[in-house]
Symmetry: C3
Subunit: 154 residues, 3 copies
């Protein structure tokens, strides 16, 4: 985490009124993106990333690049979970949104994964930190870079 | 889940500036509604629903209809939890808010239930998906229809 | 919890448009405050409180007062967690924001603590309720009073 002073907690590079809209848009963006992911909507989910997005998560041996690879990854998840009978839910929280002078956004949040076996007990599967770069592309926020780190591997 | 394209992630049927207010109002509405529920505030909680609201959750044998039944359900929960000594907390997250052309809102979010036995270890009790229809009634958002599905029963 | 009627769920003492900005600011404030806490950024975290803030949490034998004590508390946490190898993450949710006529805010939310041992399984550590008073001080929201109660001790 970049060492931020308390004075930077609410960004002031934007006109004050716009931060309310921006923060809501980013929350809505992530809600939609995570629901698509957990529903295995491979192409719509990949479309929430930029064409050449980099997706760097500890469950993959190397960073994934671009929408075709992102979508392929979702389809692999779908196959695995169809076999295991486990439903995963990805939650974000404690969302810190930092607008940059070039119009992009830097976000840092916590990410939880809940797992529920069919007919079984739900449990916390992973606790992670997620750092994104978001860019406006054709009128929408999209992830251009994602780095996820797992607390258990830290 | 309705298959939504990424282009639908941030609704544009409203003037852009208003989405910030709308999203905040819906979050505040749910925070209040869930806190009332977990505090067994039966009538105030029932008042966050419309008069003839339908409440369809897997823990009840049939959908509940209307405020009197909703409030009665809260009082039953209170009795059961007084006996068991367990405190439940209902959390929502990944809140997707979709305004419709008729002025109502369609929301879809994840819902977690945490359970804490008196003096014991807290745990995740349920992982659910919650789909609501919200309507403006006497100046307030209220739930007119709720459908909850449990991941363990899916 | 104060018994609130449904009519109070979305505060109307502010001009309507401003609630979107306010709610976003408070969410951003807490995201930043909790990330500083979990990263052991002692002084920046203490700076998100007012000079004479009161911090009343069940893990401490007595309420902590003022920034020097708050920062010292973070450094103690850091030492303990360095020994135990456990990473904690503090999450807030179901955030109810109530503006008061004197310009301060009263918030009530749920607070979860997740714990992850190094190389081990993550789990829910604590389920709490957090009640804050927030004041604007030098252009920023800061906590002037915090009361946290644990569900397992209730």
């Amino acid at each position: 985490m970049t060492a931020m002073t308390a004075a930077e907690a609410v960004p002031h590079s934007l006109p004050e009124r716009e931060f309310g809209l921006l923060y809501a848009e980013v929350q809505q963006f992530y809600a939609h993106q995570m629901q698509l992911f957990d529903s295995f909507a491979a192409e719509p989910w990949a479309g929430t990333f930029t064409e050449n997005a980099v997706f760097d998560v500890p469950t993959l041996p190397a960073p994934v690049r671009g929408r075709a690879e992102l979508a392929a990854n979702v389809r692999r998840n779908q196959e695995m979970q169809a076999k295991s009978g486990e439903q995963l839910r990805h939650w974000l929280g404690m969302l810190d949104v930092q607008p940059r002078s070039n119009g992009t956004l830097r976000t840092r949040c916590y990410a939880l994964v809940y797992m529920t076996p069919r007919g079984g007990e739900s449990r916390v599967h992973r606790v992670c930190v997620m750092e994104d770069e978001l860019v406006l592309s054709r009128g929408r926020w999209r992830t251009s870079h994602r780095l996820v780190t797992r607390d258990d591997l830290a």
